[in-house]
Amino acid sequence: MNASFRAGLRAGVPYAAAGFLLSLSFGVLAREAGMSAVAAIVMSAIVFAGSAQFAAISIVAAGGGFGPAVAAGALMNSRFLPMGIALAPSLPGGPLWRAAQGQGVVDSSWALSARGDGTFDRAFLFGSTAPQYVTWLLGTVTGALAGDVLGDPDRLGLDAIYPTFFLALLIVELRNGARAQQAAALGAALALALVSVTPAGVPVLVASLAALVGLRDGTDDAGDPDGAQETAA
C-alpha cells in the first residue's frame, strides 16, 4: 500500500461518511418502492452509483417499468463516460486491465485524484473509492433493514445530502481559479437550460461540454493573474 493510496483513503473518509447517509436513504426508498432488502443491498454492491440507483428506483416508485428505469439509470451514469475518457491516459496496462481499473471511478474519487494538469493519481483514486464502497454498502444495509424505524427520509432532510456532497467537491474545484469558475458557471447554465426539455441525466452529460473553455488560449490560471478579464462565462 503506497503513500498515494493512503492519502486517498484519508481524503475519501469524509465522503464515505456522507455516502453512508445517502445510501441509507436509498435503502429506505428502495424498500418503499417494493424492492426486497436483499435486492436493494445487491444493487448497491454491483451498481454502486447513487444517482443511477435513485433514478431507477424513483421511476419504479412512479409506476415505470424495466425500460424506463434502466434508461434513466444509464443516462445518470453517462457522466462516467467523459470521466473515463479523461482518466484513460493515466491508466497503465492492457485494455482489459484498464477497463477493470475504470470500474473504480466514483465522482468524488475522480475529482479528488485529478492532479490539475490533466492527469490523475491512480492509487489515490482507488484509495478514496475504497472507504466509500464500504459505507455505501453499510448504509444500504442499514436503510433497507431499519427503514421502518426511520420513517420518511425526506422528513429527515436526507434528500439534501446528495447535492451537498457534490457541492463540497465543486467548491474545491472553484478555488482553482477563474477558468474553473467559468467552466462551472457554463456547466450549470447548460444543465439548468436542459432540465425541463430532456430526460434526466442528459443535462449533466451535456454540461461536460463546458470543459471546452479549456481550449481557449492562456496557460495555468491557478494563480488567477488574469481573472478580471475572464469572469464572463
Partner: protein
Amino acid sequence: MSDGQFWQIIAALALVTAIIKAAGPIALGGRTLPRWFANVVRYMAPALLAALVCVSALADGERLAVGADTAGVAVAGIALWRGASVIVGVLLAAAVTALLRAI
C-alpha cells in the same frame, strides 16, 4: 413490480454502468495526452459537478423547483465555502432541510 423484474433492472444497470466506465479506458488508455486534451480534462470536474449540484438541488423530476432542500444545500454551501468539512456540510444541509419541513 415483481421480484424478478427488480433483479432484471439491477442486472441490466450493473452491466450498463460497467460498460460506460470501461469505454474510455479501453478506447483511449495507455497514451500520452496531447496538450489540448489535458486543457479540456482539467475543467471537466467543475463543469460536471456544478451541473450535478444545480440539477439535484433545483430540479424536481423534469422541472425546476426551489424547496426546503434547496435552502438546506445553500446554507451548507456557505459553511463549506468558509472551510467546513464535507460531513459537517451534509449534516447541516439535512438539519436545515428537516427543520424547514417541520415548521
